[in-house]
C-alpha cells in the first residue's frame, strides 16, 4: 500500500481505486475510509486505537483510465473524552 506523508498527529494513506459511478460514490467513500482506518490501526496500534481517530480528510487525484488515487489523512491523538 503506497504510504503518504506524515505530520504532527496525522498519517496519510494513498489508496488507488476505480473511479466510482455517481450511484456508487457514497458507498465507495465508506470503503475508502475503512481502508484508511485499517491501515492506520495496522501502523499505530496498540499505542493508538480507533477511538483516538479525531478526523479524516479525503482528497482524490484522477489517474486516467478510470482510476483514482484517494489521499486520506487520518488525524489522531490520545482521546480521553468527547470534544465539546
Amino acid at each position: 500500500m503506497p504510504r503518504g506523508k506524515e505530520g504532527p498527529g496525522w498519517s496519510e494513506y494513498v489508496l488507488p481505486a476505480l473511479r466510482p459511478t455517481r450511484a456508487m460514490a457514497e458507498r465507495e467513500l465508506g470503503f475508502i475510509v475503512e481502508r484508511a482506518v485499517a491501515n492506520f490501526l495496522r501502523e499505530h496500534s496498540p499505542e493508538y486505537r480507533r477511538k483516538d481517530i479525531t478526523g479524516i480528510l479525503i482528497d482524490e487525484e484522477p489517474l486516467g483510465g478510470g482510476l483514482v488515487n484517494y489521499m486520506v489523512k487520518v488525524a489522531f491523538t490520545e482521546v480521553v473524552g468527547e470534544q465539546v
Partner: protein, 143 residues
C-alpha cells in the same frame, strides 16, 4: 513533532461576524442543549451563515461514523454534535477555497477551530479546556 500546541491563540483575527454566528448558535439557539437531530440542523445553519460571511458555497453535513471532510464532494461527516469538531471540518472547506495560514492543513484546521471557540466564547472555552474537552491542547494552565 508534537501535535500538542497553543492552538487557541493561533488565529486572533477571526472576523467578528464569524464569532457572532458561533456565539449565537451556542448561546441563543442552544447547540449544547438540544437533541442530536436539532443540533445537526443548527450546525447546518451555522455553516450557511459562516459561508455567507466568506462568500463560499455551503458544504453539506451528514451524520456518519467518523468526523471527516470529503474535499471534492464538499461534504462533512460528523458522528455527534460538537462545536469544535464542526468548525475544524469547516476550516478544511475554507482551505479548499484558498484560506490557509499554516502550511500543515491539520495544524491550520486545529488552530482556526480552537481559536474560534476561544475568541467567541472565552468562558465556555476555559471551562471546556479545564475539563479536558478540547483535543490537542496542552494541560489547562488557567487561561
Amino acid at each position: 513533532m508534537s501535535e500538542i500546541r497553543e492552538y487557541h491563540t493561533m488565529f486572533p483575527d477571526i472576523s467578528s461576524s464569524t464569532l457572532e454566528v458561533i456565539r449565537h448558535t451556542v448561546t441563543e439557539r442552544g447547540l449544547w442543549r438540544v437533541g442530536k437531530e436539532e443540533g445537526f440542523d443548527l450546525i447546518r445553519d451555522m455553516y450557511e451563515k459562516i459561508s455567507s460571511v466568506y462568500g463560499f458555497p455551503t458544504p453539506s453535513l451528514i451524520e456518519d461514523t467518523y468526523e471527516y471532510y470529503f474535499i471534492s464532494g464538499e461534504r462533512i461527516g460528523l458522528p455527534k454534535v460538537s462545536l469544535v469538531s464542526s468548525l475544524h471540518e469547516y476550516r478544511h472547506h475554507m482551505q479548499k477555497k484558498g484560506r490557509l495560514r499554516f502550511e500543515d492543513v491539520e495544524v491550520d484546521a486545529r488552530g482556526w477551530s480552537i481559536s474560534a471557540f476561544h475568541y467567541a466564547l472565552p468562558e465556555d472555552f476555559d471551562s471546556a479546556w479545564s475539563k479536558g474537552r478540547i483535543w490537542y491542547l496542552p494541560p489547562y494552565s488557567g487561561g
